[in-house]
């Protein structure tokens, strides 16, 4: 007889894998956002998805994950494009453009909730805020092998989505590296070579938006924003080479995921006597990594030296 699957396999394996994959991907893509001073775009998307969710619900009449995901993705893409358009054509400062777009879309979403009758249904908005990492558990049937096809089919869908986003993002950054570097830092060069910087930026934005939306349900928007910004900011303090910065950012992100989850489920029961919310713990780990890095950098820096 096969022994019952361990708690680790049922309760922790899939959420841990999901949070590490998402953290790696978000920190990787976030490093480019931070360089372009667009770090708060994650916050913008968190608020902009609301009208998309309501519209998807009104059209399909269901809260099934697929239409919700498409609605959120559509709204977030619209928000990114609107921000890009405002910055480029109306010459609004990027941070101001982000502020204008997401408040408008969020207000539109609230209006839609009130007018379409979606208010009688629990559109779980708090879930978008705080995430439900704990729900990515793996319901293996008792007496079944975890590695049978049936058990593997029961792996949580968000984990598979996040794994896909991870593979696509890592692939895109590796293969498009020279193009990406040239687009970000050497616009005249790319234009002279007949390359399309707009296309590269657009692809990067599409990838970022999809990853952010795919991560909301599991991780929650607060954690998504923390992972888009903290690891790149820490990496920025540690290195000046673009390659090392991007790689370090991704590694720090994944470490925050691993440490935060380990603390929430294993460390906290010993210290506080019970497990704590994993999303919050991972976000705190990301913040602590940044704080520790900043402290080390300040202590190591010679007092009078110019920092240029």
């Amino acid at each position: 007889m096969i022994p019952p699957p361990s708690d680790f396999l049922v309760l922790d394996a899939a959420p841990l894998a999901a949070v590490v994959l998402a953290a790696f991907t978000l920190a990787l893509l976030g490093s480019f956002l931070v360089l372009q001073r667009q770090a708060m775009i994650g916050d913008a998307m968190a608020h902009s998805v609301l009208p998309g969710l309501v519209i998807a619900f009104v059209i399909t009449g269901s809260r099934a994950p697929a239409p919700m995901f498409m609605g959120a993705l559509g709204a977030a893409l619209f928000a990114s494009l609107a921000i890009a358009a405002l910055t480029r054509y109306a010459r609004v400062e990027p941070t101001a453009a982000i502020g204008v777009v997401f408040t408008t879309l969020f207000a539109l979403g609230v209006l839609l909730v009130e007018t379409t009758g979606a208010r009688n249904v629990d559109l779980d908005l708090d879930c978008v805020l705080s995430g439900q990492l704990e729900l990515l558990f793996w319901p293996i049937e008792r007496g079944a092998s975890p590695w049978s096809g049936e058990s593997l089919d029961r792996l949580p869908q968000p984990l598979l989505t996040l794994a896909t986003m991870w593979a696509m993002s890592v692939g895109a950054v590796l293969f498009g590296w020279r193009l990406l570097r040239a687009t970000l830092f050497d616009r005249p060069f790319t234009q002279a070579r007949g390359l399309r910087p707009g296309l590269v930026r657009g692809a990067l934005l599409l990838l970022t938006t999809s990853t952010v939306v795919a991560s909301f349900e599991a991780l929650g928007s607060i954690l998504v924003i923390a992972l888009l910004t903290c690891p790149p900011a820490a990496a920025r303090l540690l290195t000046r080479t673009l390659g090392a910065y991007v790689a370090l950012s991704a590694v720090l992100g994944a470490s925050a995921g691993l440490l935060g989850y380990a603390f929430a489920t294993r460390g906290a029961p010993i210290l506080i006597g019970g497990t704590i919310d994993a999303s919050g713990s991972v976000a705190a780990a990301a913040g602590l990594i940044l704080a520790a890095t900043a402290m080390v950098t300040v202590l190591r820096r010679p007092v009078a030296s110019p920092t240029g």
């Binding site: 319901p139 008792r142 303090l237 380990a262």
Partner: protein, 322 residues
Amino acid sequence: MPRHLRSAAVHILACLVLLGAWSCRDGSAASATDSGAREPDKKVVVCTTTMIGDIVRAVAGGTAEVHVLFGPTVDPHLFRATRDDVQQLMAADLVFYNGFGLEGYLEPTFRRVAESGIDLVAVAESILKGDEAMQDAGVSDPHVWMDPHLWARTAPLVAEALGRLLPDSAGLPGRAADTNARILALDSFAREAIATIPESARTLVTAHDAFRYFGRRYGLRVEGIQGLSTASEGGLQALESLVDLLVDERIPAVFFESTVSERNVKALIEGAAARGHRVVLGGTLHSDAPGSAGNYEAMMKHNISTIATALRGDSTATEALK
């Protein structure tokens, strides 16, 4: 400079790895002691609300280990599963939940738990026949326990489900009949109490729409500030029309609910006072969890006496409650 920074990075990473290793090691020790706490031979039954848990405990009578997920002050509409709750559900042999969307945020969890072959029973959805379920804007009202004559049917349902799990247990039908009779006694208690309220004062205004089954059974008009789920907001319009109702019909009292914020009900009292009608606070009712009453029967008795006393205008009792 870059070399310094690189060594700093190496230091930080080394610390992280050590920390990670430390927390993983301690964790495996902790989980080993956790799993040792279960009684080895008994089947494990998990219930969401106390209203269900009380009946399951009474019917099981010690033949199964019964756990209740929601504490006595938890609002089931807003309950989110933590890792520990998922652990309990996945370790269960049988799960009883209310259904009709009461545990709104838990429904995806229930679906996934069911995938692993664990038996889940939606109590409220199973005991109602035909059109007995109350509807509001296409959504079924989950607060069935508010009508004890319907809720008493939970006992035979639980006995049948437990019988599938414990085929050797002979005492189940007898205990189910006893439990059923005890809950039906609440029904006559409620009838007698409500009969003491003057016809004109039989309107129950509370924080959210939890008392519609109660009102239908005992002939009370029921108004809630928030809708069926506490996740919905009351809104100014709902407050204003309720103030109109209080003033026009000279309704004597309104009620807090122990799992819902007092803010909206206070606004009603102030709104009516501003229009020259003094509404008293009738007391705190236990709607979605037993609160300080502790169990289902005590909670229903508390609700029934509080409502009857306040709506009769029995001033000594209402002053004491304030």
